[in-house]
Symmetry: C2
Subunit: 492 residues, 2 copies
């Protein structure tokens, strides 16, 4: 395959798009803003789903499914939520096509099949779910409700980019209902921890947990928590959000419960979600100019075995050894591919599996057969070494764990190197333009300052980190007092 993608240095944005295409992850469809997730990309998403789904179930959640459509009047009920999404909603207005009398073989929308009430294609499901919870909840005995949904949602984005921002995307959305504010806040924080755990331990992606400024809150939420990750170009990517909804949706949909004392009260809610955007984060955090680098825990193929052969006879001998290793590794629960195609040269295959991010490559040639060895190459470091065939089965699982850890360490070291404390607006601008990355700076807590900084620098407050220490200072922009630093960055 050779160097088929733009280098990161040359054009980071184009590198990303080239990689998504060449690694066979996704492509644009003929439907504006909607992507096709290709089989290899989807198999990584499936691994993410499995990991997350188990974590949700381990924390007591169950899956359910709610309608794709939300009637307009229901969508309107929580005003802030409605206002927040109104400008990017796909709207169903008719339910039938008919033959176009003016054009043979063509169809037209049947004007007689106009809906009495328009349907919004869900951009998020709070409205439809809380209108349902109203039927499910009468008493404290019906609480908590801990439900998650795996679904597609649509937000009509004008500028789209594969995985990062698409009109339709896949996600999970948890929607929980509780008897007390305390319990709902605990749930919100618990799910933030689940997301951080998933990002760090599956995606090898260090994240900063924090709370959004009021201006960046989810529409309809009382508080929005988030995890923020750093990409290799120093930009931030919001990788997951968990919202404390207070009683906002319960009030909008009149969801009340009788507490233990028999008194009626509104239910407390949370919602939390991650999406196929995580695919974008995974790619941009780890990969290089040769293609994708996958953390072993999300790799559809852990090990690829490539035979180096000139004759059919050599291939047969190598295959014996390869099949043995294949069986041993599968026995250890690993996913292994033996690529014995005779239509492609080893060099082509090497490049192909590098592009696809397979963590470990084993190559076996005639000399290896003589010596009882294989050549082992790591995708993350590109290191190669010759190892004894009879040691492969013991070595590989350890090495995969090491790769997983190394990828995390590398991303963490990069983030630390690219995080700067700044105390003046001049430094703020200088660092942002010359170095990029995360800036820890004092902010006076006002929406005006936040907006002004965004306007002047394109950097936004990513979050107020949960672990930010109390530290008296003055706002980099206004000079007004501030109690702690917040995290600024340019972001995806």
């Amino acid at each position: 395959m050779g160097k088929e993608i733009t280098s990161r240095k040359e054009d980071y944005s184009q590198w990303y798009l080239d990689l998504v295409k060449k690694a066979d992850l996704a492509e644009n469809s003929d439907v504006r803003g909607c992507m096709v997730i290709k089989p290899y990309g989807y198999s990584i998403w499936e691994k993410m789903q499995q990991g997350l789904d188990k974590m949700f179930k381990d924390t007591g959640h169950v899956n359910a499914y709610f309608p794709l459509f939300v009637p307009k009047s229901m969508f309107e009920a929580e005003e802030k939520n409605a206002e927040g999404f109104a400008k990017e909603c796909a709207i169903v207005t008719h339910y039938r096509l008919k033959n176009d009398p003016a054009a043979k073989g063509k169809l037209m929308v049947d004007p007689d099949a106009k809906l009495e009430e328009e349907l919004v294609v869900r951009p998020t499901s709070e409205a439809i779910i809380w209108s349902t919870y109203k039927k499910w909840i009468q008493s404290y005995r019906d609480l908590p409700i801990l439900v998650n949904q795996w679904a597609n949602v649509v937000r009509w984005e004008m500028r789209t980019r594969l995985f990062l921002r698409t009109a339709e995307f896949l996600w999970q959305e948890g929607h929980t209902a509780h008897a007390t504010a305390t319990e709902a806040i605990q749930e919100t924080r618990q799910m933030l921890d689940v997301y951080a755990d998933f990002a760090e331990n599956f995606m090898a992606l260090p994240v900063i947990k924090g709370v959004k400024s009021p201006g960046e809150r989810f529409p309809g939420a009382v508080d929005t928590y988030c995890i923020e990750a750093m990409m290799q170009d120093g930009k931030a990517l919001q990788a997951g959000t968990s919202h404390f909804l207070g009683q906002n949706f319960a009030r909008a949909f009149q969801v009340q419960f009788a507490n233990k004392e028999g008194k009626l009260d509104y239910v407390w809610g949370t919602s939390w979600g991650v999406s196929t955007r995580l695919m974008g984060a995974l790619i941009m955090a780890h990969s290089d100019d040769d293609g994708l680098i996958l953390p072993p825990k999300l790799a559809p193929i852990h090990v690829v075995i490539v035979p180096i052969f000139k004759s059919e006879e050599e291939l047969i001998k190598i295959s014996e050894q390869a099949n043995l290793i294949h069986a041993q590794l599968r026995q250890a629960g690993l996913s292994v591919k033996f690529d014995n195609r005779d239509t492609h040269k080893p060099g082509f295959k090497f490049a192909e599996y590098e592009m696809r991010g397979v963590p470990i490559r084993l190559a076996i040639g005639p000399r290896d057969l003589e010596n009882g060895t294989v050549e082992l190459a790591r995708r993350d470091t590109k290191e190669k070494k010759v190892v004894a065939q009879n040691e492969v089965a013991a070595l590989v699982p350890t090495l995969l764990a090491e790769i997983q850890q190394n990828m995390y360490n590398r991303a963490l070291a990069f983030r630390e190197q690219m995080t700067t404390r700044v105390d003046t607006f001049a430094d703020f601008n200088k660092i942002l333009d010359e170095k990029g990355g995360f800036l820890l700076a004092h902010w006076d807590g006002t929406a005006e300052t936040e907006a002004a900084i965004k306007e002047e620098t394109k950097a936004t407050i990513r979050c107020i980190p949960l672990d930010a220490p109390e530290e008296a200072g003055v706002c980099v922009y206004s000079g007004k007092p501030s109690a702690r630093r917040v995290l600024f960055a340019r972001a995806y």
Copy 2:
């Protein structure tokens, strides 16, 4: 809970709806024709998905994801397909809401945000997928493509019934592309076999494999194969379909490939799908007036343990024994629930788990502790027996296998008893009205006769069974010659 549902004898249709509600499987939403799949119902669907997904992957298929929306011009391309679905399509015409100047707090469709081309919410994905395959396929080396998608689809049905017929439903749709007709037909038949295997071995549901009459074909297919199951009221339910598409979609979307000789040819296609309709089939084939009866292979909970206690002290002692059994059964890979709630009586719990179809119930009371026994009840036969506690772990897995087999045998015996060979139209009508079930009758092969029989009897040709022997006869309706019997029934 008591007898909370209508009996089958009284009103089979109402029994079904009562059961779906009381077993907490699904409910109607406030969105016309769309259902909410509740957590317990969804957990059964998840088991179905897992079983099917593994079978698809074992036969070489991979998952992918294609857009929810299909532009109208793309939808039109395969004319028969478009014509077949045009009358039941939800259409997106706008992409934005705005504040309604006439009503504060209300939204209206923004007339300035009208789409240049309307989008059809997919009723099935052949169009969008074949328009994508055009980009993926150049040469025979790119074939076969063996892709499956798990997705939601929308067909605007006027009369809906939970799981059986809903405007939005969940399904999987396989879409494969091949270099030869033979290979595509083999794929079509293979997937029919996969569906039959799943129905019989997971759902304990015997099915008849057959091919649809031309009038019942999937719009755009050359041949539609199906599996047909019998419900307890004697009506048929189509449980899955597999279509040989010939080159129809390849022609419509200009998908050509260079064969080994370098000659261009159109690609051969198949598509195949099963949906949440299978939930309806599962319920209606097996359940009784006390609720759901689940085959163990699809039961979210295999065994429930109910303690019979008067005092806290008794509960503690019983819990020790229950926890031991719980651990042993979990060790054997089973899903077990110990219901130690002190807010509900044992009788209530018994009825609840019967309603939910849990295959095995274990009850432990003070006398059982003395005797070292438990009371074991089977959901399928309602048989109860007292067994030694130390035999439970060995007994349960065997018993679950027996229940699975018994449910299949019972459904098969019922179907055989309810299948009648008829040779005159008088008998046809009589049997249909008095006994119901499947009728094996001669048909002259014409669409006219098929339509006339449907008009007069409401029975349709479910399929021409694949194993139907050659047998010369005369059509029950027209008296014209026929070479084999076909399967008639009234159907869901």
